[in-house]
Symmetry: C2
Subunit: 410 residues, 2 copies
Amino acid sequence: MDNFTFYSPTYFVFGRGEEKRAGEMVKRFGGTKVLIHYGGGSAVRSGLIDRVKASLEGAGINYCELGGVKANPRSSLVYTGIDLVRSENVDFILAVGGGSVIDSAKAIAAGALYDGDFWDFYSGKAGIEKALPVGTVLTIAAAGSEGSGDSVITKEEGMYKRGAGGEALRPKFSILNPELTQTLPAYQTGCGITDIMAHLQERYFTNTDNVTTTDRMIEGLLLAMIDVGPVAIDNPADYEARANIMWAGMMAHNNSCGVGRSQDWNSHNIEHELSALYDCAHGAGLAVTFPAYISYVTKMAVSAIESGSQDEAIWERRLKRLSMWASRVWGVIPDGMSDEEVITEGIRRYRCFLKRIGMPLTLGEVGGSEADIDKLADTGCYGDGRSGYMYGFVKLSVDDVKAVYREMIM
Amino acid sequence: MDNFTFYSPTYFVFGRGEEKRAGEMVKRFGGTKVLIHYGGGSAVRSGLIDRVKASLEGAGINYCELGGVKANPRSSLVYTGIDLVRSENVDFILAVGGGSVIDSAKAIAAGALYDGDFWDFYSGKAGIEKALPVGTVLTIAAAGSEGSGDSVITKEEGMYKRGAGGEALRPKFSILNPELTQTLPAYQTGCGITDIMAHLQERYFTNTDNVTTTDRMIEGLLLAMIDVGPVAIDNPADYEARANIMWAGMMAHNNSCGVGRSQDWNSHNIEHELSALYDCAHGAGLAVTFPAYISYVTKMAVSAIESGSQDEAIWERRLKRLSMWASRVWGVIPDGMSDEEVITEGIRRYRCFLKRIGMPLTLGEVGGSEADIDKLADTGCYGDGRSGYMYGFVKLSVDDVKAVYREMIM
């Protein structure tokens, strides 16, 4: 296990009706003038924004507001938010929505205290040293942004999707009321479940050995999603299923089960280009990407071992980990099967599950086509500039990334 | 799932050599004059206290010190600590040790800012509103006090062991270096593993339905302990096993997998009288208590169902939960067996595991005898005064508690 620090100082308020405590929580964390940041009209129509305003008024807190955040939140609205925060002397940002709204709020919070262009944080030109305090009222269980220090923004020019992070971005509080997710359509619910499971798997596929405690935690959270996910799809109003998904969504991404180990994140990197180019939901893009990625990595491993690669031992360990995932998470009994066969069966079950919760499985289903593969692969975020590699569980060249996209055509 | 709040703002610094950051961390959280609180001579002899002092000196922080904390930490040393803190103008308490040292430090931290007798917090006469900041350098993975807001102290007069808790007691930081636990003897290691598993099971045995996410997390952490526990017993210097146990110990008790559900804690309550009266290690007492308790609860359930209790449905659910524990944690395949048979086999495997890690299984092995049972049961902590009941997964009368103690005689 590697040395690490873990700091998750967000105050979580979980349960029915708890958005009524928004004002109390802003006050607790020192806010006096709030920017309420939200997405489309549903938060307004449902009366949620009014309830949040009433809670702030009850606590004697002034506010202004900025709606209009889209899925794959855009840089242009972040600039608008930064201007508004400065002109209105806002000292606390309250995100009311899902991961996109929270990520946009975090970008505004960091950008408002920065002299340069906030995109510097996302292009890697600058690190986030400070940010205005952010609170959240979560309406979609998926991104885990309510408990993380991460934010992903899409720049309109070129539709680049990039992430930034820092301790200063951890929300001061997050209000998680599962009732607010009961009106989500099945498709968005499925996207959320897929994203949560992807966050767990990005941590599971590690090159660090002897991380049993976090392995078992991740498997447990995945098993819980396999259990309650279809319940929420079949009956969107099921409070208990929603509650289990909502807490898992936070646990999957606040990193308590990702500490002390290398992590993967290749699937997220590869997916980002899908949702940026086709504007599909991030979760839907992950449903297409993650099984394709595992399938390609398995081929890489088998090929490296067969060709007597000098890294044979590392590839063997990777194969064992993928096989452990297939058997412990997807229940494949490895009796008499090779690791490759166990993994292939695991991928098949993973895809069956994704289909069961209404997710797409192919590039075509998210609006993509084979003709775009070169462009998708070339636009990707490579560690070392465009000519470099993606580094995660395995190292991927641009050609490898193209091959992963090709695995999405079935 | 019940409404809840979860707030775990402790900064964890984990890994080899990290005690060197003690000074930096005290400074980060505003300490200027530290009380270094520790136990016996081993922390001094090993050089750990000197390394901590060097780290504080490097950060320009003054300190005084108070050693001598025993297992089952005593109220008398807490009074000494409170006097010292006041006379030396200490503004930060640094616990260097295991759960007993940390619990003693927390009691001093709360007592120093309280006008009355600190025991008021532990007797239930007063709630903890404020406390001096506490940091920890953990040397034993067991109690989870490094990430919790709880503290347990034993009052010498009568040897009563009582707990107190509050948000103010959560450590500001905790340094977890698994190397510091590599010199622990196998017996203490076994006690720690037993305590960690007990913290998980006290949360697992709930009367709240539909808590799948936290169920699977708890099972995962228990499975990890079953996997790595014997490795640490057989080879105390195994860093990786130690690291897994250390992180699990924190996760087991910071409540991230105990939220939104009723919890049990009857076994801890029943055990406290064992370690108070016989001064045995808490973990050893739990090894004797927990299987006996599960065994007795199973008998209560079977008897209630057979007698057609009006609470039959509740008892059926309890039996199902115990049976789930036996099959998911201990691998009992329930094919063709009654719930009672599955649980009985689970208890047998639990005891085999406890024996494997060197734990006692009977009252006699911790120095007790049948003749003490009335006294043990009468001294217990009942919710409603001495004439009341213990409330947890099940409600226990004094006679029920006597019956649990009798289950410890095999």
